[in-house]
Subunit: 627 residues, 2 copies
């Protein structure tokens, strides 16, 4: 046994392949409550064969997969055993309709669960789809606090492609740094020459497994391992970047039972599988390629899309997809190769194995397939633009109540490097907004007097760095915890406008994720968004729904949502260090209806909310004297 | 310039030597308020020439030295900029008379200051002495959260040796691990084969500076550094342990301005200096030797002791001393050598330099002096037993109201390794005890129904491991947050009784520290304490006062205190991983008088105290509609 075979070796990865061919989507059971009990603690783990301290759940990394049916109530009792660190867990893609305090965003929807405390998240799995959960406090996601959340369709909420597949595979993608998140944060918080960028991750992980340096794994137990020669996959003397990456990343057989053995998906020939893919990377945009197999995209972020076939998919942090994969090739083992997009990769590809049950060999014979060139943005756009709504997708309202333009810039603020939206960089308050509104302490808890700006100076030249702007378009970047206040029922259009970063000639991709909602992706464009010119080109009749959307370099992305879910929601770049540097906004939505909700006191009473509460009278009765 | 010279290079270390010859102890000023504003954050620092993430204060490690006069009010506004980690700061040696909420013990006296929050500690520097401050939440002390706290004598509170010295030097000792505290905690929390002991520290630090591997410092800047041959200090071919340690620890000149350059204390010849020495080590017991100079001990933990002269001093974590040092030797540079006691040292000695201002050379010519053999316990006892009260020291009450015997054992609990006192291992609640009492929520906040046991089965054989005990003396180890309730005014005698650890033949030293008090050290003994036999040998008439006392292997230590300071106080082994493993007890003292105190709500309202509070009515007025 050379690797982690799903359903046999590792209970933890059981969900990664469902060998029993479930005829999916036909769950007829009545909604039920799915209860989970989690202990979150530091664990020593070797996700890429190198031992590190990570945040684990119930002693393992990644966290357990949650599986539920649409309509089920999910109840997760979380105990924080991390001593000094608080925590929250965000259920990414769950809209938290009527339960905004369960969204798991520290300083926004909830107080941190402090060390020793227990908090129970209860929320409805409101629709079928491929989701995940992760820490949403500081950079705890990057420390390993995440796992899969899969919501199956039901008779009542049937996925339109439910009858088209025989079995499921699940792949949660992430990236991993050897430098701990405290040091990463220290670097990002540094002033002037002490500022230090986190750099590229050391390893990409598939279901929490990667291989940083194979020799490490092998040296741990030479008796049961031998290293396959890399020459089998890359000709000797070939010193191309690709081969160098392969030599670093692909190591042949691994010691049985190590935490970093590659994932093997066992599949039966002649079937169709639904491969679920979600990305919770800290930084990396990824591409997923399954050697020798076409992929038909059917789901994006829990929403059905008009099916389209591709050789590989791009996936940004915060996104999820389902693709249908037919096991119609020669019965052997194939590589699943995951590579970096958009940033010059210093991180080798992650590899998993798709193995036909009738395969004679354990390992693929070929060289792992290359993923597309990292800097081919055109190819990324082609993939993204193919995503259209499937027939039957709800359509957006046609009347727009509010339009918000959001300029994404990178700025210096007091010698710190920050990201800003309309010249405001997000600084979270120590009182969760939801608690501040619930207890009526907005004015002391955050800057409630000033609202976040709906636009920016149209003279801003997005092709130039901030300091090269004309004087009229120069604006001081404010560090602020202010919000967008949006009344219940408002239809909001947002245009994300990208711009040049601090360095001339550099503009980055940013995957923006909205909490509490799906939104319609109305369209994308190059350069500066000009409403009169561009609005009419948007697809406002049948655009796809998503919860995360990419903003391409030097371009814009338009989206629409209906403010029908009272709560305080984050809308932010899903790149962990970008959010850390302030790249997000807060939407306080339908606060006038907050009192209709049953906000649990323990979720939101901390910071200024606590100060505003009236304590019980101190105990005045004497204690019994000591014996 | 080869090293950090006090008063010139480094403002941070300015206090480490007071070249201006202050005629000490004659401060006549009226009590004043000393205000400090601290930002606690992760910093990248190289305390031993290796870069690590540490907890810094105002961007530096160690934290700034606080200096005050006896009677002054010290006010420290602490802002937590660590994102996800809470923090508290304990003012070690300050009795917090009337301000128990300012003692800075998480889950005991105070809620953690969460990320983004600010809390102001205000307390009176109640008496002159050599103190320090440090984190008291999880293992944050070991992460670098500490600094010196020096309280000068005044006309009203004059130290009896105030006229005997011309200047002051200050030395805060600590130890440093390359593995971060989260990983250390993960190891200590591990179950069964996942349990991992922290091991020995990599480096000892003097005022936050040590040298792990000199070559690292030198390689950073070869231009300004050259490595002095170790042969000058240890003959070639001498492979003794001592010489090996010297080869590792002693490196000759260091690069100017590095964070790990050794401390140089400049002294004038023909003077007497008060050398303050405090130890905030995580693990190590230490010995301090000043080459060629005798030391006269005059202060222990802020209490005057009858002066005695020694060649070197032992110091356990949590202790502090002042020694008088005469600069009566040849005017040259001398080594100050700090080595490990009590555990087989894998950590090289720390070195600093005492340099006469008239010295011709920058560096000592001799081999750094060896500190005593680590396993010479007899020598340690000899030093400790020499500590007697100075004339004028307050005497203990002669009537004892309560006697508590505390058996220190190491035990397995559910495959975890723990330390226990009378078969109870301390597990802190998520609601600070002080808040639980103040708001009358003891019963829900911790086990208030069961009191900590005042004794243990006298059939327990302290020479055998727990599992080798006779059936009658076997006791299950309870994990509990229960307390000792002590009524105001009670005179309490405690006998700490050491025993064999889990491994046969092993018994360790434990420095026990009491919060909120000084106590009288009545005596020490070998083997099992037998009251009828041993009590009469105790010094109950003029014993020395301390706040920390060592419990020697296989022996006992007796102490007395008066419960005259209402508050909830920790009494615990000051070894960080030992406390982490439960080696402490909680004393809830004078709780019947708690209502007389002005406990600030923000100090204690978290956990169950928050749940018990009555919140303001939720806001019901609608927010203004969005524009």
């Amino acid at each position: 046994m050379m690797a982690t075979r799903c359903g046999s070796l590792t209970v933890q990865l059981l969900r990664c392949c469902t060998l029993m061919l479930v005829f999916a989507g036909l769950v007829a059971a009545a909604p039920t409550t799915r209860r989970f009990k989690w202990d979150v603690e530091y664990i020593m783990w070797a996700p890429d064969c190198q031992q590190s301290v990570m945040i684990g759940i119930n002693g393992k990394f990644p966290g357990p997969t949650i599986e539920a049916n649409a309509g089920d109530l999910i109840s997760v009792e979380v105990t924080n055993s991390m001593h000094t660190e608080g925590l929250v867990i965000h259920w990414h893609g769950i809209r938290q309709i009527g339960t905004p305090w369960a969204d798991g965003t520290a300083a926004i929807s909830q107080c941190p669960i402090n060390g020793g405390e227990t908090f129970t998240y209860e929320f409805v799995a409101d629709k079928p789809g491929t989701f995940f959960y992760h820490g949403h406090y500081g950079m705890q996601r990057a420390a390993g606090l995440y796992g899969s959340l899969i919501v199956n369709g039901t008779d009542q909420q049937k996925e339109p492609y439910a009858d088209e597949y025989d079995g499921e595979l699940n792949m949660l993608l992430s990236d991993w740094y050897h430098e701990n998140v405290y040091a990463q944060a220290a670097g990002l918080d540094g002033k002037g020459k002490h500022w230090e960028w986190v750099g590229e991750p050391q390893t990409l992980l598939i279901n929490g497994r990667g291989q940083f340096d194979c020799s490490l794994a092998i040296e741990r137990d030479r008796k049961t391992c031998d290293r396959r020669k890399t020459d089998a996959y890359c000709k000797e003397g070939d010193k191309s970047e690709r081969c160098e990456l392969i030599r670093r990343s692909e190591c042949g057989p691994f010691c049985e039972g190590t935490q970093c053995a590659p994932v093997v998906f066992d599949v039966e020939p002649g079937k169709t599988y639904r491969l679920r893919i979600a990305s919770t990377t800290s930084l990396s945009a990824l591409n997923v390629h399954v050697e020798g197999h076409k992929l038909t995209v059917v789901e994006a972020d829990g929403n059905s899309v008009a099916p389209f076939e591709v050789d590989d998919i791009d996936i940004y942090s915060g996104e999820s997809y389902s693709v249908l994969l037919k096991t119609d090739q020669r019965p052997q083992a194939y590589w699943i190769s995951v590579g970096v997009r958009g940033r010059k990769p210093k991180t080798p590809n992650a590899l998993a194995i798709l193995k036909y049950t009738t395969s004679k060999s354990e390992w693929p014979a070929a060289v792992p397939p290359a993923t597309p060139a990292w800097d081919n943005v055109t190819r990324s756009k082609e993939f993204t633009y193919k995503i259209k709504a499937r027939e039957g997708t709800p359509r957006p309202p046609t009347t727009v109540d509010r339009r918000i333009l959001m300029l994404n810039t990178q700025n210096y603020v007091d010698e710190h490097i920050k990201w800003a939206i309309n010249h405001v960089t997000l600084s979270l308050p120590n009182t969760p907004y939801l608690g501040a509104y619930f207890y009526g302490v907005e004015s002391v808890a955050f800057d409630a007097a000033t609202e976040s700006p709906d636009t920016f100076d149209r003279g801003y030249d997005i092709k130039k760095p901030p300091e090269a702007q004309a004087p009229a378009a120069q604006a001081e970047t404010a560090v602020s915890n202010r919000v967008y206040k949006v009344a219940n029922g408002t239809v909001v259009d947002v245009v994300l406008q990208n711009a040049n970063a601090l360095e001339a000639g550099v503009s980055e991709s940013h995957p923006w994720h909205l909490h509490g909602h799906d939104f319609w992706v109305l369209g994308y464009g190059e350069g500066m968004y000009e409403h009169d010119r561009d609005f009419k080109k948007l697809d406002v009749t049948s655009p796809p729904l998503r919860n995360t959307v990419v903003l391409f370099p030097n371009g814009w992305t338009a989206l629409r949502f209906v403010a029908d879910n009272p709560g305080v929601w984050a809308f932010h770049c899903h790149i962990e260090p970008h959010l850390h540097l302030g790249m997000g906004v807060i939407i306080a939505e339908g606060m006038e209806r907050l009192h209709e909700l049953n906000v649990p006191k323990e979720a939101v009473m901390c910071g200024q909310a606590t100060r505003a509460a009236v304590p019980l009278a101190p105990a005045t009765s004497p204690s019994p004297p000591s014996p």
